[in-house]
Symmetry: D2
């Protein structure tokens, strides 16, 4: 961390900053410029972060030199961490595909979707039993019934289940059914929930918040890792920008950034990331090009009848041709010798 003192900072103010830094067992390193004094701080970054420096007299600003997350960082974990989900790898060169309807609507709908998903070679079945909805009057999911249908479909087709958990109280119940616990974008910084899934003993899929910076997203992952769970799959799903043509702006550079800064695998959700069916194919191929470890795709047997997110769901044919292209691209870019 670098402390930039204001132009008129006094000697006493500078000494006070140094005293606080050294009092915490860290080292301070001073640089005197023409107008400003700059103080470099050296030592344990988790100690550094809690020093009350920003509020001190004469301090103009703090410049962060290193990130505050640790366990998931490249400095700590140089090798890619492969998340094994009941025998299926995410990361390490494989291409994980998680597909299925936005919401579980009925037993029939889900079984049909699962059949399509399996037939095209995806390894995971996604589907929401508990749905976060902007309005309290929108369909909120089938809840317990939805979980049961997911369990049945997963078992019947040999697919791993991915479903969202929205509150601490439901973590253990959902962990019984789901192979992966999904944290939705709105809960990226629901710290109580992050801690709870960190202790649940299951892999976690952590969606990026709509206005989550890459740094905050990685810190959210650190909350999970700190509970002892390194099996975290990061999922880019679009950020909120001024552009309204797409529902969100899919930030594929975040895939590159997260893989550079951390050891965690990253997948991409082009369905939510764009909100437009016609964009799912090109943005899936783009995600593979950017180096994503997997895709999360909305597939519905009858998109026109979907209770949520119909406009961005693929039908059987659309999903089949997408999978063909994704496979071709993955083979070209990563070779045959990938994990799966």
């Amino acid at each position: 961390m670098v402390v930039v003192m204001a132009p008129g900072a006094t000697k006493a103010q500078i000494e006070e900053v140094v005293a606080v830094v050294e009092g915490a067992g860290l080292k301070a390193h001073l640089s005197f410029g023409d107008q400003r004094t700059v103080i470099g701080i050296i030592g344990d970054k988790t100690v550094m972060m809690d020093l009350p420096l920003a509020g001190m007299s004469g301090v103009e600003k703090l410049l962060k030199v290193t990130a505050s997350y640790k366990l998931i960082s490249r400095e700590f974990a140089a090798r890619d961490h492969v998340v094994w989900v009941d025998g299926v790898p995410v990361g390490g060169g494989s291409m994980a595909v998680m597909a299925g309807p936005c919401a579980v609507e009925s037993r029939e709908q889900l079984l049909e979707a699962a059949a399509i998903v399996k037939a095209q070679g995806a390894q995971f079945l996604r589907g929401g039993a508990f749905k976060p909805r902007t309005s309290p009057y929108s369909f909120q999911g089938l809840e317990q019934k939805g979980l049961e249908f997911l369990a049945e479909a997963g078992e019947k087709y040999g697919l791993k289940i991915v479903t969202e958990v929205m509150d601490e109280g439901n973590v253990s119940r959902i962990a019984e059914t789901s192979h992966v616990l999904q944290i939705g974008a709105r809960n990226m910084q629901n710290f109580a929930l992050l801690r709870a899934v960190g202790r649940a003993g299951k892999p976690v899929l952590l969606k990026r918040g709509m206005c989550g910076t890459i740094d905050e997203w990685l810190n959210a992952a650190e909350y999970i890792a700190k509970e002892g769970n390194m099996d975290i799959i990061m999922c880019e799903r679009g950020i909120r920008t001024f552009e309204t043509y797409t529902r969100n702006t899919l930030d594929l550079s975040a895939v590159v950034a997260v893989k550079e800064l951390s050891c965690l695998p990253v997948i991409v959700d082009p369905s939510h990331g764009t909100g437009l069916r016609k964009m799912v194919r090109p943005m899936s191929l783009a995600a593979v090009g950017a180096g994503a470890d997997g895709l999360m795709i909305e597939v519905h047997p009858e998109p026109a009848k979907a209770l949520s997110d119909g406009p961005q769901s693929l039908d059987e044919q659309g999903f089949a041709s997408l999978m063909k292209e994704v496979n071709g691209l993955t083979t070209l870019l990563r070779g045959e010798n990938r994990l799966q």
Copy 2:
């Protein structure tokens, strides 16, 4: 709601949309343009919202005509709703000031802060016992001890307590101490928590999410109202934009918008909204000018030693002169005959 059909939409596709609309008990009204057919839908908006129209073939886009919240809307509640907190009004022409430290750090710190807050005429003591922090390694609050200190300080100085609740599990515990349950920006769309505070029988202070649109924020309030609790105080605290000079961009036009669209009172938090001490005074005056029903201000007996948010906290003198100006301005703009 208005459905815009794509230029090439067929007669059959148009009829199918009409059938879905009428099948739900709503009316469809067609307009044929040169290139596009536009279908207006008339009837209950909460039914409308769940129709699977967006995914249907031939549909280009949906245009929302009305908002999806109801109970808090101006159409439903034309008169301003005054939230009475244990005898103290928020809204209705009064100026509610909630002041205190970002985090409760010790009994002494809080009692000192409370003394300052009371002396300058604020009615509410704010302070965090449970702190949401980006990094898991940052100070997370005194938790239970913090609540006890808040209770003691509130009682000693006759101040109403406002503190944040971060998870469902703590709602009832915090409701025992706190007169107002604060929902932080990161939890604006933590729907489980919104429902829980909606049932807790206490007024709720609902902060706007960092990327929450006004529409989403009002829908979040509707989640609380739908549980039977209309005592909701909206709090603008800055949104995330590209500008990095300020921590967030304080959106004072949101004060005007929320008061236009809903019956709820709105207060402003210039401390978090800007992150800069020197901006607290001018942005507080600006908030009063914009019509805010109150202010939330960080006050710390020794800002230079604050464990969190020191750079934006006022000390005793700063708070005293702010309160003097705020009072002058309120009297000028709203007259002496305001509620309090």
Copy 3:
């Protein structure tokens, strides 16, 4: 400037950075951390900025300590610069009001508007003769005719004229008529135009770009100042964010920031900043509370017939009651002893 070297940076890479810094006549100051070396650079900041450091091997990032503008900065010009427009001051405690229609539509419309503007005590008449419009098919202004009407109305009512200049070729022509040359938001970084108005010998009103950071906006002002013209009036008019309820998000904290960082006066345009007539009054009062040196307000004799921006224009009565409140507020906050 601070150079942060990557964790694995070699001694040779560090030495190379130092060599480049010293080769440019600057001093380098090294700080060795556990993982990173940090190099502080001391000396002339305009030299510093052009060093090719960011691309050098081993360099992780550069952290800016000081801004790159100079002439307009507080470090250079501690006292507020008052811009005198043909005898009328902007800044220095006065409240400058620039009012009139978005576009000059006809001689009659402009004369009527000018009469209203004058009657309520504003000092400046605004009106567009050349209009920047998103679509090439929208009304583009009366051009030369518009300038003539402005000149006539200004003379008749003793109002100073403010009108936009959109291209270099028209600068001298418009400077003959207009007392203030306005640079619109879309041209904030049209550097050729900035240089041209810097040489035109007239005060300049520089609107903030829709996505202009405060730093970029001040650098744009520096382009004008560098040509020898310090008579620059900064104008906050809203930035582009994710919120769509308002046309833009009026960033009143920018008023405080610009007055802190530079010596220039700042005015606020709540009409364009919100795009909503009902917001003009509260946001004008908010701007005065935030410390703005003036307001730019759209006034139209018949807003319902305005060719552009009707929805945000005030009529005579609306403008009259606004001016009354603005005057009351200014007197309360700044006292009677202000310049004008």
Copy 4:
């Protein structure tokens, strides 16, 4: 266009809107809801746009049904428009690569860069002779000398030249040298410049503004087309968002959108779009996956010595391996039978 009347709108107000619509030769189509009346307008959209409806009494809001651009729209031009640049196609299945240094720094630097660019099979040499820089103290380009070096390098290596034009006054001078006139992001809505390049008789490369919506970007292209020049190459180069890890957020979904909404080819600039050398390769592959018609890549013989944008420039080796992968991907996705 759809006019939504406010809940309390009177019959007279509705009739007045209808009168204005019909008075302009358009048709109005009314829909009466429970609370609101909605008026659909049918007819020539360029007439519609200039009606003063938004400011009329009783009008709540306008909803746009169709875009305001015409000549470049899919409704007007169903077939992809291939831009032929002196015999080299952009669009139509080809992969156009424009590479070279950010700024022309010297004759030697440019000739070296051109040799690399040519050797790897790119068709275009890019390089800035006039540079738009945030600060007036940064290097502004070699200007006339830079143009001469570009001409020499282009001729020597048989590369088409792409260089930026920043003001009207230089259009004809630059058009003598450059095969493509580039409009930079800051000038996307410099309408005078758009008109000037529209009349210059050369293909134009139109970069998206940092906060330009897709709709505004297409309208900017329409300004050029309206002058009779359809040879427009759109270039996505990143938008400004809250994320600061990358310089901008590259919005690859815009590639898909522009190709859907217009007939124009779209290329991607991952160098400026991310600002990070390590991201150029993955984001280039992502752009090809998304369907881009070309790439604009910064290549510098010695990135560590670049006067601008060194951190995002590729050296010879980096560019060579990128081109190999881009070629492989293009062949896989578009087949051998593409134009070039």
